[in-house]
Point group: C2
Chain length 334, copies 2
Amino acid sequence: MRIILVGFGVVGQNIAKLLLSRNEDLYALYGMKPRIVAAVDSGGSAVAASGLDLQRLLDAKKTKGTVAEYGDGQKNVIEIIESMDAEVVVEVTQTNLKTGEPGMTNVSAAIKNGKNVITANKGPLALALPSLIELAEYNGVMLRFSGTVGGGTPILEFAKRCLKGDRIISFRGILNGTTNYILTRMEEGLSFDDALNDAKEKGYAEAEPSLDIDGYDAAAKLVIMANWVMGMKVTMKDVNFTGIRNVTADDMKNALKNHNAIKLIAGSNKGLTVKPTEVPKNDPLCVNGTLNAVTFSSEYSGQQTIIGRGAGGMETASAVLRDLIEIREAMGKV
Amino acid sequence: MRIILVGFGVVGQNIAKLLLSRNEDLYALYGMKPRIVAAVDSGGSAVAASGLDLQRLLDAKKTKGTVAEYGDGQKNVIEIIESMDAEVVVEVTQTNLKTGEPGMTNVSAAIKNGKNVITANKGPLALALPSLIELAEYNGVMLRFSGTVGGGTPILEFAKRCLKGDRIISFRGILNGTTNYILTRMEEGLSFDDALNDAKEKGYAEAEPSLDIDGYDAAAKLVIMANWVMGMKVTMKDVNFTGIRNVTADDMKNALKNHNAIKLIAGSNKGLTVKPTEVPKNDPLCVNGTLNAVTFSSEYSGQQTIIGRGAGGMETASAVLRDLIEIREAMGKV
């Protein structure tokens, strides 16, 4: 199985580490020999039709800051996608929810070129998932994106595979770990600003935290779930979202008096919404810290909640690997 | 797809209702036309090679107490399993953890006769799952039992399918809803006896509640999970189990002082054990009421918790239907 890896940040590097460490057991368990035939980052590319030496690739990135220092790269990413033989393009560049780029161009090019795509990039999906799914169907390739929701927690697979035969009526959940951490700290008595600063110090929030705290990230994940789980054809513009910037210490105190906590809840009931919502403390959904949680309501098997860390480089890499195995099983051995 | 349904209690009747109500959409979604060609209960049997009229079958049970009143039954269950053409035997007689009967005989006969088996009966599995799995492999048939753990909550599927490509290192969970209800009531201040009586009044506990409160039911589910999830070859005798009979109101008060609750935890770490254990109140596993919850620790994707109701006739029937769909997909259309 030949892979073009586009993006070599935290997730990309963890994918390389995971393939390196699991080389033997992936073959034993799934008859799968994944080879990365090209790796691309913002500094350039590394290319080897017979498969890159992943340790050398990781060393080049670590010591010189780019895969280009590996030695054999030259072409730009689109040329690589169009000219190289590969079964899968793994797109893990950074998420941009305004333009979707560079993910949008990379993902579209790969699909049009007849290559299966795995992405952990929420940008193109949040802005254009219905048309990307259509494009993939038209070109007869698979488009998978398990790592975009829940990090390593298999929320999308759960809905699609484990509840097979049932009908999911609605779902709601905590889809952003940063805001959940901030709200948890506020529950402990901190003001919004102090909790945000604490989240920045811990590395949970960016210096410019708007993507998380204004609800964009949760809204993007809600779009992905609505398309994948409910078969809706929606994008970011169909979500009504509010972040947690205006939640006050007093709001939190009042909620706690009623044995509730305030959580940033994304839900599919009565339209797609993301907003701070009171949740009973003893509801399984009411998890703390950076955890994510989603409750599915299904017609016959009742309500089910799945909880896990919603982020992390290795966790997200493990979701990409699950997608690889799924594509491999659908394709037969290559 | 021809089905022999053995057992027509709450679960069996809900399977009939589910197939009746979803007749059309099962064909549209999965190309599946399930027909129950024989139904058996303790009063006798109903047989129709072209498929029983399920409404008439349910009416016979409701008004006369047995499927035998449907009109066309005669043979005993083993004769039916051996003589009738069918792709699947669904075994949903009552669980007996001492002898495994009548489930053990029914399940073994079906496998030896080359029929796929779906069961929601924990008895044969708790006592002999490793040899039943071997027997099924030898005879080239599938043995599935999603409904035995978690009711409608797809705990077994989650471990096997959603964490594909990862390695589950251990798991622990609350696998019995009755004891969890009793412990939740004790947390609210009731004595063990009062909480047990309340559970009986609510219909959560049997008149003879030993199966639940002495840990047998949780131990049986632990055996099933250990075999299925971890590939262990174990039975009831390999589980070290203690129930909740000796948990006192004082124990609970002391736990709560430390922000913990006492839960009946079944786990795979350091041997297979079921015992009352203090769990932090803010642990996702610490669910209340009749809920079940399991936390899986996996090598790459971290810890994940799945929560849902662990029982219910329709919920368990929905798990049987998931197994039916899986078998149907593995077999091709019939």
